[in-house]
């Protein structure tokens, strides 16, 4: 029971910080039917950062 709860918190923390974003991307790629090449972990990380920095994402 405790083990399950801890695992749940761990998953939540990973998702909150974006630690598991690459795994989600890979899973998404398996379902999506596109011919684009799969990004490496590093390329994907940099790509996501670039995307995030375009708009207002920090406030006073």
């Amino acid at each position: 029971m405790l083990h399950k709860r801890l695992l749940y918190i761990w998953r939540f923390l990973r998702q909150l910080t974006g630690d598991d974003a690459y795994e989600h991307y890979l899973a998404h790629r398996q379902c999506a039917h596109t011919s684009e090449p799969v990004l490496t972990r590093q390329k994907f990380y940099l790509y996501r950062l670039e995307l995030k920095s375009r708009g207002v994402n920090r406030c006073c």
Binding site: L16, Y45, V56
Partner: protein, 687 residues
């Protein structure tokens, strides 16, 4: 929730406890009250407002529809549109809206006593700020996550659209300048704080290299390494502070610190984000949430007494920290803790593209702002648990109370707040500083308050460490806002410049990046330098300017929201946004008028410029002030023009919204609602 017996009893109990706590704060003022009452009152107010007011708005005014597919579901591309768990979105949204504003505003507003600020934080947030965030998020969600500027253009027309874009750019300029000033005041003549701040830069870069090259994307690992490095910076700063050869090297005056912040801001804006901005952003988000929880926990544990009176004599406008009557300046000063226009940019940015269910806007929009407002309450508590004499000694600029410690102490004592030079010296030594006099800007006094609360709860001997930890924490996310603000300001600037000359719009071109970053940094750098030169400490000029700009943006956001509600046929309930809008319009206009035309040279920009010009001509200025007087005079006149521009912009948008609403109500043609068509989420259910 059904109206069952237990739930009626529960909510009645919350209402009673909240009312009792509020009465304790506001009415029973004979003996000193405890900070716990503030926390209890605030939590009860937020719970009641969330349970009843926000539920009513969502059900009756916005008529949220959980069966309607959200943009994230419809347009899911696993890039920017990603359906996400609501708690995760809550975390992201809160981390995005919570900045240094709600920490600094209440600290400054405590000069009026605890009551005006506390009441406005509570009332302003539940009736104004939370509603604004909620309705703007809702509007953007129904429009595929469009930005505030775009919505203003689609719903009100080009005037509203341009006003929103200009308002955004101006507010970013002023906020970055004022935050820079806060950093300068925390660092000046403090080797410990300076080395800690300097240390956070390589620390963030190491994490950046780790996250992009060594273990790409392992954000949790990188963040833990980063947190350890940051704590080492705090400890290392203490070591430098105690080292007699190194300490003088980092003993910088205010102007040196200002140039450091400006050069740093430029470099940070042109470096790739993975190296500095992104890793520091992760670290500051972690620290932010951690410190908020720690602070709430320690206040409950330590239960400090409130030492500040409910009202001070400075409600008449003669306050040392900034000049101006409690009305309207308490509203302008509290800023982000009650209602923040800046939030509407976040609520119409990333957040609406992540929501997986329309019903979640209540928790994300209304709930996050309630939590942010709670942070403001804690900052108010931290300021008010200090001895008022100490609070005023730290926050009053030398130009008001006198540059010599003895003079300052006499002046503060003459106001009826007791403090001695020895007491301040002992406090400074305890905090690992040379002096704590005239450390304006709010960050140092907040750090002293937080250090006192933390060290009473955990570790009495670590006062100096806690103080510099608090400074590091504040500076870390101020610098994050500064970097992110400069970057976004640059994009907006490029967007405007490309209408004049096309190549300026190229965001990947390096020369264009350097040129536009330099332009934007020069814009905020100008105000920062002006603030550092100002004999009244800069806060007196820059913080009201920021407050007015922020409320201008809130006014624009609420105008867009009100226009949309009317076009949705919700005339009966339009007061939900129209009432906060009317209030914002009144205080914003009033404060702008005072800041421009007041005949008191310490309040009015024009009177200030004239007064300084006549003193300069008569030769009665101190020599060091006479040198910078010409720049200060021009600066004050620019501030006056800017303030007039803010106020007129607000009224143009409001009148434009009224015109459109009038036309709509009278059956004349207006721009149609730009809401995307209803699609049931069943169409996207997993097959």
């Amino acid at each position: 929730m059904k109206r069952t017996g237990p739930s009626i009893i529960l909510w009645s109990a919350i209402a009673l406890v909240g009312a009792w706590a509020l009465a304790n704060i506001a009415i029973f003022r004979d003996e000193s009250i405890n900070a716990v009452w503030f926390i209890v009152a605030a939590i009860c107010v937020y719970l009641l407002a969330y349970r009843f007011y926000s539920a009513w708005i969502c059900a009756r005014v916005l008529t949220l529809d959980a069966t309607r597919a959200t943009p994230a579901v419809r347009l899911n591309n696993n890039r920017d549109y990603i359906p996400t768990n609501k708690w995760i979105v809550f975390g992201h949204h809160f981390a995005a809206i919570a900045g240094p504003g709600p920490l600094i505003g209440p600290t400054l507003a405590a000069q009026f006593g605890y009551l005006p600020g506390t009441l406005w934080i509570l009332i302003g947030s539940v009736l104004g700020g939370c509603v604004q965030d909620l309705v703007v998020l809702f509007c953007s969600l129904r429009r595929d996550g469009r930005s505030l500027g775009q919505m203003a253009k689609d719903e009100l027309g080009p005037v509203g659209g341009w006003a929103a874009i200009f308002g955004t750019m101006m507010i970013i300029t002023v906020i970055v300048a004022v935050l820079g000033l806060v950093v300068v005041n925390a660092m000046k003549n403090s080797p410990w704080a300076t080395t800690t701040v300097l240390g956070t830069i390589p620390a963030a870069m190491l994490v950046g290299i780790y996250l992009s090259n060594i273990r790409p994307g392992r954000i949790l690992e990188g963040s833990i390494i980063g947190l350890v490095l940051l704590l080492m910076c705090v400890v290392g700063g203490g070591w430098v502070h105690g080292n007699s050869t190194l300490a003088p090297l980092f003993d910088w005056n205010a102007m040196t610190c200002a140039w450091f912040v400006i050069i740093y801001g430029f470099i940070a804006a042109v470096l790739p984000i993975w190296l500095l901005l992104a890793p520091r952003d992760y670290l500051s988000a972690f620290l932010k949430i951690g410190v908020v929880i720690l602070l709430a926990f320690s206040i409950m544990l330590y239960a400090p007494a409130i030492k500040m009176p409910a009202l001070t004599q400075f409600i008449d406008g003669t306050g040392p920290i900034f000049k101006g009557d409690v009305f309207p300046f308490v509203f302008i000063t509290i800023a982000c803790g009650a209602i923040s226009g800046f939030h509407s940019l976040i609520a119409s940015g990333t957040t609406p593209k992540l929501l997986s269910n329309e019903a979640d806007v209540r928790m994300i929009g209304y709930g996050s702002m309630a939590l942010e407002s709670f942070v403001a309450i804690m900052a108010m508590v931290a300021a008010c648990t200090l001895e008022p004499g100490v609070y005023f000694a730290i926050n009053s600029p030398g130009g008001v109370v006198g540059k010599v410690a003895g003079e300052a102490v006499n002046m503060i004592n003459s106001w009826g707040f007791m403090v001695t030079v020895e007491q301040m010296q002992a406090l400074a030594t305890q905090m690992g500083e040379k002096t704590l006099f005239a450390r304006t800007g709010g960050a140092p006094s907040l750090a002293v308050g937080m250090a006192a609360i933390f060290s009473s709860s955990f570790g009495k001997n670590l006062m100096a460490m806690w103080y510099h930890f608090a400074i590091m924490f504040e500076v870390l996310f101020i610098l994050t806002t500064l970097d992110a603000g400069t970057r976004v300001g640059r994009f907006i600037l490029q967007d405007c410049l490309k209408t004049v000359w096309k190549p300026m719009g190229d965001i990947s071109s390096y020369p264009v990046t350097i040129l536009s970053s330099a332009l934007f940094v020069a814009a905020w750098g100008y105000f920062l330098i002006q603030g550092v030169m100002d004999p009244l400490g800069g806060v007196n000029i820059l913080w009201p300017l920021f407050g007015i700009a922020n409320q201008l943006l809130a006014g624009i956001a609420l105008s867009v929201a009100t226009g949309i509600l009317i076009k949705m046929g919700k005339q009966r309930h339009v007061w939900v946004t129209a009432l906060p809008l009317a209030w914002i319009a009144i205080i914003c206009t009033w404060a702008s008028f005072e800041k421009v035309f007041s005949s008191n040279p310490q309040i009015g920009f024009l009177a200030g410029a004239t007064d300084m010009a006549s003193k300069l001509a008569a030769g009665t200025l101190a020599p060091e002030l006479a040198n910078v007087a010409p720049q200060l005079i021009v600066g004050q006149r620019i501030d006056a023009v800017l303030t007039v521009l803010f106020a007129s912009m607000l009224w143009i948008v409001i009148l434009d919204m009224c015109r459109i609403s009038y036309r709509f109500v009278n059956g004349k043609a207006v721009l149609p609602l730009s809401e995307s068509a209803y699609v049931s989420c069943e169409a996207y259910a997993v097959k």
